[in-house]
């Protein structure tokens, strides 16, 4: 096993990982950074974010507004000290992106333009047409090329954190090109591996979003926080699950059922007019909109298609010029993948798994409970998103907390952080080597990656979808336990070394099984309804018992152990979430 010694290892080279790398390179050019990713940076799923990034910029807006929208949107499960910090840092980080060349869309006077977004009282979403994530990712990647201290290890699949003497001191990773296990010895490690949407069958998430980093931290003893909160985006294309941005509704698009009726007015989001109107109707929060779809579907008021039922997202009244200027990708995607030109016809859409609010438990400085380990971006849970993330907060989050993770790791590496000996690193990595080695040696187990993945996908959708019950969750929990046991009998078909994607998919499935277990058990134990976690058998929010973050702790071969931590409340006491006519 080759060993590379550096100061900081970053796992994941999407938005958060790149931002962390740049933060380190700028603050401490003398520190070495090893940036590992299982894909080339430009392929990271930040690339697929469309609508924009939130940050207060208008004179009629304030940090308090952004704070209140975020905390209310999160159904009071956000840590308010973290949200305060987040909203204050947001405009600075977005301005920094501008200074690095991000092609933000502009007003006629040359200022950066903003658009309205769901659950936001004032328009504050910075955007680059409808390819904001793409432009942010490429701007960060290209900017990262300026810094000689950042050394990339593209197509390295990280398997394990290397913990020596109770501190995270490195990472074991498979160099996919050679198939060899490669060890990284460092003084600090940052995980920035994104979400885990691929646990579910119908998702906006790319194939790479398999929760690898979450599982790595979880197995190393760091809790996964608030995992029961999984966001369904209300508007995905049927069949493929391709994201159709909330920016469509920000620009004035409407949702109608099979009768052409704007059904959201029946779910506490109306009245429909005047439109567009902030925090009302189609600009309500994602959890409410996806839940409204579920009810419409139950009432038989949705439209049947071969890929499940849909409602219509109608943009026709926006006109071709505005659509081409601000939503060009949406037009292209709709024409290509469902044969609908939104200039002339409404787009069929349905709710689709989009985002994991939960993740690796971190504090406000992106630090985890494991000394030397930091996490940022979708894989982490600070928590600023609480029980339901507002659209356009996540692109900003990966900048704000990516930078903080970078600075924190750099401080540690430049200060009291130290390397473990190479001998200790090699000894610790034996576990990783054995785990991978076992997969190569095992024969006759008879279980397949594809079969188990399908079963997991099906049971997660059935048991832990938009609405959940004790019964549905228990059933899925039993299935997941069964899948976890059978995973041990998986047999690799491909036993070669170079780009063995059978092996990588098997390891990814292992990560997803661990993370799925945390989702299911956390959801089972939260006997209330809050934000994206809706229980048909416990319909009310219960602040008495559950104004708390859930913490899932890994238990080898068994269900996780769940405990709780109080939410940080500084100045906004839990109240009713009000949207529509009475929204303030």
């Amino acid at each position: 096993m080759n060993v590379t010694t550096t100061d900081v290892v970053i796992v994941g080279a999407g938005g958060a990982g790149l931002r962390a790398a740049i933060a380190i390179a700028e603050a401490h050019p003398d520190l070495g950074v090893a940036l590992l990713s299982k894909v080339y940076p430009m392929r990271s799923h930040t690339v697929a974010a469309e609508g924009g990034a939130a940050g207060v910029t208008k004179d009629n807006d304030s940090f308090d507004n952004h704070f209140n929208d975020t905390v209310t949107g999160g159904d009071w499960l956000c840590d308010q000290d973290a949200v305060d910090l987040f909203v204050r840092e947001a405009p600075r980080e977005l301005t920094r992106m501008e200074h690095w060349g991000c092609p933000w869309s502009r007003e006629s006077n040359g200022r950066v333009a903003v658009r309205p977004f769901g659950g936001m009282k004032v328009e504050r979403t910075w955007y680059a047409a409808d390819k904001t994530g793409f432009h942010m990712l490429h701007t960060l990647f290209q900017t990262s090329l300026k810094y000689p201290s950042i050394k990339r290890f593209d197509e390295f699949y990280s398997t394990d954190l290397l913990v020596v003497d109770g501190r995270c001191r490195g990472v074991a990773a498979i160099d996919m090109r050679s198939g060899q296990l490669h060890l990284f010895r460092a003084k600090a490690v940052i995980i920035a591996t994104g979400g885990a949407g691929r646990i579910f069958p119908f998702t906006t998430n790319g194939a790479i979003k398999t929760g690898d980093g979450m599982a790595m931290a979880y197995r190393a003893g760091v809790a996964l926080k608030d995992m029961e909160f999984v966001q369904y985006h209300p508007t995905g294309l049927p069949g493929t699950g391709i994201l159709i941005t909330e920016g469509c509704r920000g620009e004035g698009g409407i949702l109608v059922n099979k009768d052409g009726y704007r059904y959201l007015q029946d779910y506490g989001l109306g009245p429909p007019d005047p439109w567009p109107r902030k925090k009302a109707m189609e600009l309500g929060p994602r959890d409410r909109l996806s839940q409204a779809f579920w009810h419409e579907s139950r009432k038989g008021r949705t439209i049947d298609t071969p890929h499940g039922d849909v409602v219509h997202l109608d943009l026709r009244h926006l006109g071709e010029k505005l659509i081409d200027e601000r939503l060009p990708m949406v037009r292209d995607l709709a024409i290509s993948y469902v044969g609908v030109d939104p200039v002339h016809a409404p787009i069929p859409v349905r709710p689709v798994v989009h985002y994991t609010m939960g993740g690796i438990d971190t504090d406000i400085d992106a630090k985890t409970s494991l000394e030397g380990l930091f996490a940022a971006g979708e894989c982490a849970c600070v928590s600023i998103n609480g029980a339901n993330r507002l659209g356009s907060n996540s692109l900003t989050e990966l900048l704000v907390f990516g930078a903080r993770a970078g600075l924190g790791a750099a401080r540690l590496a430049a200060g009291e952080g130290s390397h473990a000996s190479e001998t200790a690193i090699r000894a610790t990595a034996a576990v990783a080597r054995d785990r991978v080695g076992r997969l190569f040696r095992s024969t006759g187990g008879g279980e397949s990656v594809v079969g188990l993945r399908r079963e997991m996908n099906a049971t997660m959708e059935a048991g832990a979808g938009i609405y959940r019950t004790d019964e549905s969750l228990r059933r899925s929990c039993a299935v997941m336990n069964d899948i976890r046991r059978r995973y041990a009998s998986i047999e690799l078909v491909d036993k070669s070394n170079v780009y063995n994607t059978d092996l990588i998919q098997t390891l990814e499935l292992g990560a997803m099984i661990d993370v799925a277990g945390a989702i299911i058990v956390s959801a089972l134990e939260r006997r209330e309804s809050r934000g994206s976690h809706q229980r048909l058998d416990h319909e009310q929010r219960d602040d008495q018992s559950y104004l708390k973050h859930s913490l899932a702790h890994y238990v080898d071969g068994d269900d996780p152990r769940i405990d709780y931590r109080d939410v940080v409340i500084t100045r906004s006491q839990p109240g009713e979430r009000v949207y529509g006519g009475k929204a303030t």
Partner: protein, 247 residues
């Protein structure tokens, strides 16, 4: 109605066991709205676990799934079976060494991206407190098209010059240099000129335009290269007339 059957011929190569790449045919039952990537995924999941290829977003923005489809470089996630015959040949992108199966070596492309200094070189460092640079929509529109490159490298697979001379900086990297050169916030053009206007840079392009034809996002690298040639020529003559004023 019976399902459509497609014969997917995939060029396979495992460097550990194969002396040379060889074709292998898979019969795939397809749904009418499938893209070639869906058919490749079917092969991986149902027929042959040993097939290796890159993909992620399935929405034509991550740029990882480019392959040759019946001889044309395309994103497999945006190549619809409805537009293709029942016999489909899939092979790794042309002009790149094969790593394994449909996976090609990206090192040369990554180095070329890096070589053109694809980042903003500002006139002066501006403190964050001073806010954003002003840039009108018209100024943005001057370079916006060239920001849309997803680095899928289809243009390198289509480029006859790159096929002929591997040192050619190539379409995507030159278009990206042009993107920054045209940005009203940038003053880095002179620093990029060493590579861009070198023998391996713009002058190597013979303006066949194949790069622009295959670009899935209409970036038009060929147009960018022509514009750089004109600008560089202007510089040359300006410099002759007024030494030192060319840039």
């Amino acid at each position: 109605m019976s399902e459509r059957q497609v014969d997917l011929e995939i060029l396979r190569y495992n460097p550990e066991t194969d002396e040379a790449p060889a074709w292998r045919t898979y019969r795939v039952p397809c749904q009418e709205d499938w893209v070639v990537l869906d058919a490749i995924n079917y092969v991986k999941d149902e027929l042959d676990r040993t097939l290796s290829y890159r993909w992620s977003c399935h929405m034509a923005v991550c740029g990882s799934c480019g392959v040759m489809i019946n001889g044309e470089p395309m994103l497999s996630c945006k190549a619809f079976l409805r537009d293709l015959p029942d016999r489909i040949r899939v092979e790794p992108l042309a002009n790149f060494p094969i790593e394994r199966d449909l996976i090609v070596v990206m090192d040369d492309f990554m180095a070329k991206l890096d070589s053109v200094k694809p980042y903003l070189v500002p006139r002066e460092e501006k403190p964050i407190e001073d806010g954003e640079h002003l840039q009108t929509p018209a100024q943005l529109n001057k370079f916006k098209q060239y920001t849309l490159c997803i680095n899928c490298t289809l243009c390198y697979a289509a480029c006859p010059q790159y096929a002929h001379n591997e040192s050619f900086v190539g379409p995507a990297a030159l278009a990206l240099a042009h993107r920054y050169n045209l940005d009203s916030r940038d003053v880095g053009r002179a620093a990029r000129e060493d590579v861009v206007a070198s023998n391996a840079g713009i002058w190597e392009c013979s303006f066949v335009g194949a790069c622009s034809d295959v670009c899935p996002h209409d970036v038009d690298p060929a147009g960018a290269i022509q514009q750089i040639k004109i600008a560089s020529t202007m510089d040359y003559f300006k410099d002759l007339l007024m030494p030192g004023r060319g840039r």
